[in-house]
Amino acid sequence: MSVVGHPPPPFFKRGPAPLARLAFFVILSLALLVFDLKYRTLEWVRQGVAVALYPLQRAAYTPVDLYEQVGAYFSRLGAVQQENAELKRKELESANWLLRQQHLELENQRLRELLDMRARQPVSGTLAEILYTARDPFSRRVIVDKGSQHGIAGGQAVVDESGVLGQVTRVFPLQSEVTLVTDKNQAVPVKILRSGLRTVLFGASGGQLELRFLAANADVQPGDLLVTSGLDGVYQPGLPVARVARVDRDAAYSFARILCEPVAGVEKHGQVLILGAREPLPPQVEETEARDKPLKGRRARKKE
């Protein structure tokens, strides 16, 4: 078996027994699991390795990118023209709203000044593109091409042209990870636009959303639009999230089973808008004055 010039296989020096080695490594990985799931203390390891892996990841994205580009090149001219016509029609339709919105916003501001109310927060946004879906099959996340180098921070809300898509949950220097609203561990405080009922929306399996813990006789109908209530300090109030698809009122359970469909193109890829971080809700009225100054400074710095 042995080839001339090679030492014979080490029969006697084999290190610790396999079972001992297995026990050591299993305990190590269980410790990793607990630390990551319970305490979230391993983000720095992840950041470091992710930065090192970034070029490799971009390289691995090339074949998919190439495929998409070739597909786009061969997509028929007709389809593009049709899409163009559709977009023009949509723009005209929304122009009506947009033109009046400017006027309404000014009016709103004036009225608020008259009433001496706190001004509504200005909304800023960063345009980003969804690169790909994260490989992890246990969660619903996508990777977008803007990261901490572009001023993205964890917790920012992500929307597309029709509604809320999700929230930035992990930021790397050049890209960030967005957890979609359909993820099981993602919750969005919403209110029902028709009745004003406030509740919390959770992700459910199969790309759907679920309203949990609503009484069996709650005022919810199929077709109701759910918009963010803004109570969480994360999402701006009034962004559409989902539409109620089915309401099962079973007398055997004390809660109704309400399934909703997301409004945004959650499973589609394309351009998204990462909304600027909301200013934290004022905890006390007295602190508002002191709080305003550093915030203004921060905003001014961002503009530079």
Binding site: F25, L37, V45, R46, V49, L53, L56, P63, D136, F138
Partner: protein, 175 residues
């Protein structure tokens, strides 16, 4: 001589090169990085190559390699730290322990041995993640193991390619 298995495919191989093991693992990792979304039936390439080397070369590729590869996979796929190392560790342990038994069989039966190992790897991942409160990914998730076991044939050929030596027939030599 009579009790020796005499499969026609069994040839005397050159010793394996360390750099080739590392290169094949890196190539598998690169294949795993290609973002295919939640496509069903795509095998976990790193697990497959790891199973291959832990069966072929249990002295060189063992639980340490599995642990490091698992950590890299965790970061690359954005999953919980520790999920892939735990699963790959058990795979490498089983591969190393069953190595002498598995190599005795022809390729089809080797693939049948590898299939439950790959399935158990995926099962460990599902159990750890569901214990952490994640969603069940659906039964299609396990299809990756079956396609992986089918790939055992081409994989064996490709990964042993640098170790083959030209067949030279000699009338005066018994083997």
């Amino acid at each position: 001589m009579a009790i020796q298995p005499t499969h026609s495919s069994r040839r005397i191989l050159l010793p394996v090169k360390q750099w080739f093991i590392l290169f094949s693992l890196a190539a598998a990792f690169f294949l795993d990085l290609i973002p295919l979304g939640h496509a069903v039936g795509v095998p976990d390439w790193v697990a497959l190559v790891l199973a291959f080397w832990s069966v072929r070369e249990p002295q060189r590729v063992g639980m340490g390699t599995a642990f490091v590869a698992g950590l890299l996979m965790d970061v690359a796929s954005g999953s919980v730290m520790g999920q892939h190392p735990l699963a790959y560790l058990l795979l490498a342990y089983a591969g190393g322990g069953l190595s002498r038994r598995i190599l005795w069989f022809p390729l089809a039966q080797q693939a049948l041995h590898v299939l439950p190992m790959l399935l158990a790897t995926q099962l460990v991942m599902v159990v750890t993640r569901m214990a952490g409160g994640a969603d069940f990914p659906g039964w299609g998730f396990f299809l990756g193991s079956f396609s992986g076991a089918l790939l055992w044939f081409p994989l064996t050929f490709v990964l042993l390619l640098p170790q083959y030596q030209p067949v030279e027939r000699d009338e005066n030599r018994p083997i």
